[in-house]
């Protein structure tokens, strides 16, 4: 069975190689090859999963060592895999959702002439992401980590002829580098501390290591997670990443890649358990991002950016749970999986809407689409109910557990975190209801939005949205797009219940992550009731604002907070002022120092040498007698000095 593990990665890697090197002759069949190989990887995953289920909880972990990567005295890096319950969960999520999104992309990218390349990149992403989750040491994980960053870059900038897409790709890459630096420093620290970076020895010997070192490693890992998972303060790239094709947003920027940070923290749980300060930082980052993303999600009119804000916020929940320690690890992963289902479903739904609406993304130009796109409406609606935590659906179970775990942290901290999580749930209900109402209900604003009226200011130039000015004819998407949406909707509805009944998920992951029930100051029923109340409040406010009265097709000016949230709570302005301007000032002052001080010393030395030699040159005048004078003078001085020395 161990030998199958490498096959998981080999299939999509082969697909990427074939599709990217195959050239134009694969244009007709390329998408089928890519989808088949993704599916093959999923099948291998399922085979491994059934095999794993057949064994006892204690000996479920599989190891496969392929070859020694860097064999140096005192530094051993292997290409070796470790498949335990945690990795298995990710493998199934990545290959499962990945395959569905491959199928969806066949329809979505039908008219794109670079479809083969797109599938090549998608396969490359799958291979890198699988490498990330089944590596058995941090160095190999880092390879996968960089690989998904590369695939993300290539796919965000897939429509590179749009300057905005090219810029967004560059931005994502650059911001991710900051996080990647954290990971590389963490790995170096691990090597100096433990002498190795394999999971087993590192995580097994945290008990004997000083807390200071663990805190340093933990904080660096957190920085890495912030970059990859778009957490404050490295969150700014995710909104712009929506420039990529929608299947990419669904797969990479909602379901899988952005959750890599959560995986990293849960995987390194032993390090964080030994470093309470680092854990506190994780919790704070999670809580801040959870509110940040939710607030941004409320103000965006671009459907994909609203969903991106929501993704940020939901990953904030996961990071929060992961920072709670053994109380929360399992629930972080559970929310990650259910989120993978419903958020991928929501993004695919958004893509389906855009597909039928001439690639229009402004929700204010949607409205009343439920009649025209029934399948999209139902699947999107189920995803919506799941994400806001409607009782019985996936999000209800997983989010509720996280809120409970936050309260179970205990003390004032527990109360603050619990309240933040509850507030986040209310805002989630608000912004998702808003998306739902703007898109599928209300009057059909796209009808008159298409006729240009002189009163309408030119707020949305056509070139930016990519749409044309002819009136859209909303229609349901082809079967290849609706089937994945239906499957994901099933997952959104039933996954949470399936995991929670009899604590199946808890027992499945407990041997890897450990679990601790904590001591909640309030009972689980109270938390559930409170969640329900905030849910109803959130939905009601959204209904009052967007359901009851007609929505203007042009966004009103809005309050100060709304305007700030539309600009992503000024994150880019902050980065610009602090990092760009600050960096410019720093470089400018460094250049000044270089010009005046360093160059001054160098040029001064050269100039004084030049001046000195210019003076010395005049001594060589060609007169033999003056040379003779200097020779005699020298001889006299020498003799005088000798006599003087002898006299002394």
């Amino acid at each position: 069975m161990e030998n199958l593990i490498a096959l998981l990665i080999a299939a999509p890697l082969l697909g990427a190689a074939v599709l990217l090197c195959g050239g134009r002759r694969l244009d007709r069949t390329g998408h089928w090859i890519g989808t088949l190989l993704a599916g093959a990887s999923f099948v291998v995953g399922v085979v491994l999963f059934t095999d794993m289920l057949g064994r006892g909880a204690e000996d479920r972990t599989l190891h496969q060592r392929l070859f020694s990567w860097i064999p140096v005295e005192g530094f051993q890096a292997d290409v070796a895999f470790q498949l335990d319950q945690l990795s298995m969960t990710f493998v199934l999520l990545i290959t499962g959702v990945g395959t569905l999104i491959h199928i969806y992309s066949i329809g979505y990218m039908e008219h794109d002439e670079r479809r083969r390349r797109f599938f090549g990149y998608l396969n490359l992403f799958l291979a890198a992401m699988l490498l990330l989750v089944i590596a058995d040491n941090y160095l190999l994980l880092y390879v996968g980590w960089e690989g998904v960053g590369l695939a993300s870059y290539l796919l965000i900038g897939f429509w590179q002829h749009k300057p905005s897409a090219a810029t967004a790709a560059k931005k994502a890459f650059l911001v991710n580098r900051v996080g990647d630096m954290g990971l590389s420093i963490a790995i170096m620290l691990m090597f100096t501390t433990f002498g190795t970076f394999a999971f087993g020895p590192v995580l097994g010997s945290t008990g004997e290591t000083s807390e200071g070192k663990l805190t340093a490693i933990g904080l660096m890992l957190l920085l890495a997670a912030c970059g990859k998972s778009a957490q404050v303060p490295l969150q700014s790239w995710l909104g712009d990443a929506m420039e990529g094709p929608t299947p990419v947003s669904a797969l990479i920027h909602a379901a899988t890649m952005v959750t890599a940070g959560v995986y990293l923290i849960v995987r390194s749980g032993a390090i964080f358990d030994g470093a309470p300060d680092a854990q506190l930082a994780v919790v704070v980052v999670g809580a801040v991002t959870l509110l940040f993303g939710a607030i941004v999600g409320c103000a965006k009119d671009d459907i994909k950016k609203a969903l991106a804000g929501s993704t940020m916020s939901q990953i904030g929940y996961m990071i929060l749970a992961a920072g709670l320690g053994p109380v929360g690890y399992v629930f972080a992963i559970m929310h990650l999986v259910t989120h993978g289902f419903f958020k991928a479903g929501l993004f695919l739904g958004a893509g389906s809407v855009m597909h039928g609406m001439n690639d229009e993304v402004d929700m204010r130009k949607y409205g009343g689409l439920r009649k025209y796109m029934p399948v999209t409406f139902v699947t999107f609606g189920l995803g919506y109910l799941a994400i806001i935590g409607f009782p019985g659906l996936s999000g209800f179970f997983s989010k509720d557990k996280i809120i409970e775990a936050a309260f179970a942290k205990g003390g004032t901290e527990g109360w603050i975190l619990g309240s933040v999580a509850l507030l986040g749930a209310a805002i989630t209900a608000f912004y998702m209801t808003r998306v739902m109402l703007l898109t599928f209900f209300g009057e059909e604003r796209w009808r008159h939005a298409a006729t240009p009226s002189p009163a309408e200011p030119d707020v949305e130039p056509a070139a930016e949205t990519g749409g044309d000015h002819s009136e859209p004819h909303p229609h349901e998407s082809p079967r290849s797009m609706t089937v994945p949406m239906i499957v994901l909707a099933f997952g959104s509805v039933f996954a949470g219940g399936f995991f929670s009944i009899g604590d199946r998920f808890l027992h499945w992951l407990e041997p890897v992550t450990g679990h601790d029930h904590g001591h909640a100051p309030v009972s689980a029923t109270t938390v559930t009731a409170a969640t329900m109340v905030v849910l109803v409040v959130g939905v009601a406010i959204a209904w009052a604002m967007y359901g009851r009265r007609p929505v203007p097709a042009v966004a009103p000016r809005g309050s100060l907070l709304t305007r700030a949230a539309r600009r992503d709570l000024l994150q880019d302005d902050f980065n610009h002022v602090v990092l760009v301007r600050g960096g410019e000032h720093l470089t400018r002052s460094l250049v000044y120092v270089d010009h005046t001080l360093v160059d001054g010393v160098v040029n001064g030395t050269a100039a004084s040498m030049g001046g000195l030699s210019g003076r010395l040159r005049t001594l060589q005048n060609g007169y033999a007698r003056s040379y003779a004078v200097s020779m005699f003078g020298g001889a006299v001085v020498l003799i005088a000095a000798t006599l003087l020395m002898r006299a002394v």
Binding site: R617, N621, Y623
Partner: protein, 99 residues
């Protein structure tokens, strides 16, 4: 006679030769002054040889004479060819070797 007096004479001759080299412009005279300095040295060598009672100084004086004879051959040849090309034996006129 006290050999120290010969040393005084040698010093006097050397000084005359040195000032001649520095002051006179005619190449022949400068050359003669150089010979004068060499012979002042020879005189000092012989005087020291006498004072110390060994022959080392005498032998070195012979060496000096041989070297001086060779030098005269080369030096006079240079001065003659210089005079032929420039019609002057002034050392100051031959000041081309400068920057």
């Amino acid at each position: 006679m006290n050999p120290v007096n010969y040393l005084y004479l040698a010093a006097l001759l050397f000084t005359i030769g040195a000032s001649g080299v520095l002051i006179r412009r005619n190449a022949i005279v400068v050359f003669m002054c150089i010979e004068l300095m060499l012979n002042a040295c020879n005189l000092a060598f012989v005087a020291f040889s006498r004072m110390h009672g060994n022959l080392d100084g005498q032998i070195i004086a012979f060496f000096t004479m041989v070297v001086a004879a060779a030098e005269v051959v080369v030096g006079l040849a240079i001065i003659v060819s210089l005079f032929r090309s420039r019609h002057s034996a002034s050392v100051d006129d031959a000041s081309l070797m400068k920057l």
